[in-house]
Amino acid sequence: MMITRAYQRFFAIFGWQPLGVLLAILLVFTLVMDNLYGEYTELDQEIAGLEKKHRLMKAKIGQQKQLEAALKEKQEKLADIQSRGFFSPKPEGAVDLLIAEMQNQVNSVHGKAYLGTPQEPLVSNGFAVIRAEVQFNVLTQQLVALLDNLPNSPRAIRANSLEITVPDPAQPAELIVKAVVQGVAPIPVGAAAKK
């Protein structure tokens, strides 16, 4: 009874002001809750991101030994395939080596190499692709032997194109062969950096 009476008197004096205050409090609460919820969501996402990042980092660190082993293996493999390249300080010099090697190959099957024309090298990541057009005269069996042996040559040579013509169609014995061949020239680290 007394409490009710006190309330009634209080609101008779202050009217709707307390309601306004309460609404203001509720508004503040709403703002606070909204702010807190925004922060909560943001932190939740941040934590999820950090946890994922942490997990990935830990996993990567856990793989370090495997990665080092893989790197060693790759480096050995790279060294191996690079050893079949044409080493020269400049790609232009490597093309000359490619032409010389191709001429050696022709000579090894007793053919007759007589022309080698360098083509523009293509520089890639860590190596340059060198190309040259080579012309030689061989017999059919010699050409077959040459093309057969080419993949097994000490230096890796790829025949990009091949043009065979028979000078005397009535007697197809000697062939005139024009081939575009390519190899790789590993670029020294310093030269690659300059590029």
Binding site: R5, R9, F11, L36, L43, I47, A70, I81, A156, R158
Partner: protein, 448 residues
């Protein structure tokens, strides 16, 4: 909630009527006017008759609450103390005490009381008014649609004006005020707690002095002799009589007081400070009063929810900073592992590039496939190969026959017959063909 209230100050021979309105600064007095009364002891109907023209003139809305300061002689104050242990039975004990002090039943009075805690007792200061008088006024006002809501005593206005100032808050004091022919003696226990209040008709000054001396004597007996007595609006003759004839030991404490606010303003100030008169509880409580517990509960729930969310956010912040520091700790190791991984990828790309650049071409394979399709008596005089295309020219078979033979080989497609560049020898047909060459599919990766 009404945005208007009417305040009636019923004094000797007139009523001061004020209209209170609620604005941006809260409640304030918007209009005040005095209306005359036919007698000094007005009846409810006379009060109604006096204020009706103003109510109509001001356009007071129905059900407007009316605050009233009762005229002198209506009701009064009682003061007594009860043991602290009274507790929840306090209401009953107060009723008993009122019944002892008044010559009629407690059911016949409207009352309001204030409690002041003393050492081991509770001092109760009761304002009472005859229910009959209150009901008459209430019914009279109801006839013009007004609602009597609260009744104050004149002594409360004086107490509200001076009670909170100086050293009156803790010591007894008094006030003598004059309103026309009425003289009011108000004595306060402390602050605004009224000890007693009575009104006398101004007649012979000697009699008033005698009455005052009697009051002071009785107050001295209960250790409530006022330290200071204010004279508010007291005429010079009476003032001189009081100063010269009041008991010598009280002379020094008599002091003339110039009232700064009118009584309507004092009533508003008292009401705004929460001063309570006899307040008539309406049959229906206000909506706000009904809603309050729910609103408080809602606020409490919101607070708890906000607190819980805040707690969670604090935990999240801690977890986030912990994770950040963990990430920082392993960052250098991670960067090292990452650089190794990048190196592995870079090396693999280089290996792939070199392998792609040095993969053996297929001119010999293309040549073999063409030879397989050639009849025994046919021969080539030209063979062109450039990875994607093969062109052949020769003798010994016509182009259509050779094309039909080559079509059985899935590595050839897109045949195009060319005009032979060689002369026809009359014995053997020449042929010239161009076709697409499909590279061999890449070998499956070797098992690890």
């Amino acid at each position: 909630m009404k945005f208007q209230k009417l305040a009636l100050l019923i004094e000797q021979a007139h009523i001061t009527v004020s209209l209170w309105t609620f604005g941006l600064k809260g409640w304030g007095i918007s209009r005040t006017e005095k209306v005359s009364l036919p007698t000094t002891d007005p009846l409810a109907d006379q009060v109604l008759a006096a204020i009706r023209p103003l109510v109509l003139k001001w356009g007071i809305a129905p059900d407007t609450p009316v605050m009233t300061v009762v005229p002198a002689g209506v009701g009064g104050f009682l003061s007594f103390s009860l043991p602290v242990t009274a507790g929840k039975d306090l209401d009953t004990l107060i009723d008993v005490e009122i019944g002892k002090s008044l010559p009629f039943s407690v059911r016949e009075v409207e009352k309001s009381y204030q409690l002041v805690k003393e050492k081991d007792r509770v001092r109760v200061s009761v304002l009472w008014m005859p229910k009959l008088w209150v009901n008459e006024l209430k019914n009279a006002l109801a006839r013009i649609g007004l609602r009597l809501s609260e009744l104050f005593h004149r002594a409360q206005l004086v107490g509200g004006e001076l009670g909170g100032t100086g050293d009156f808050a803790a010591s007894p004091w008094g006030c003598i005020e004059q309103d026309g022919k009425a003289i009011h003696f108000h004595f306060f226990r402390m602050g605004s707690i009224v000890e007693r209040s009575r009104s006398l008709v101004f007649g012979e000054s000697g009699r008033l002095v005698q009455e005052l001396n009697l009051d002071l004597l009785s107050l001295s007996c209960i250790d409530l002799a006022p330290r200071r007595i204010f004279l508010a609006g007291v005429e010079g003759v009476l003032s001189n009589a009081l100063v010269t004839q009041v008991e010598p030991n009280k002379k020094g404490s008599l002091q003339t007081y110039e009232r700064k606010l009118g009584l309507p303003e004092l009533l508003l100030a008292l009401w705004k400070k929460g001063g309570s008169g006899v307040w008539l509880v309406p049959d229906r409580s206000t909506m706000m009063a009904r809603l309050t517990p729910w609103v408080i509960a809602l606020v409490a729930i919101c607070t708890v929810a906000a607190g819980a969310l805040w707690w969670t956010v604090l935990g999240q912040r801690e977890q986030s900073s912990q994770l950040e520091s963990d990430v920082k700790k392993i960052k250098s190791k991670f960067q090292k592992a990452s650089s190794v991984e990048s190196e592995v990828i870079r090396t693999q790309l280089e290996i792939n590039g070199i392998q792609a650049a040095t993969r053996p071409g297929e001119p010999l394979a293309a040549l073999y496939e063409v030879f397989k399709a050639l009849p025994e008596k046919a021969w080539l005089i030209s063979f062109k190969y450039d990875e994607k295309e093969v062109a052949v020219e020769g003798y010994g078979v016509d182009g259509d026959t050779l094309q039909a033979a080559l079509k059985t080989n899935p590595r050839f497609a897109g045949f195009e017959a060319l005009t032979p560049q060689v002369a026809v020898d009359g014995e053997h047909n020449p042929f010239a063909l161009k076709m697409k060459w499909k590279a061999a599919p890449p070998a499956p990766p070797a098992a690890k």
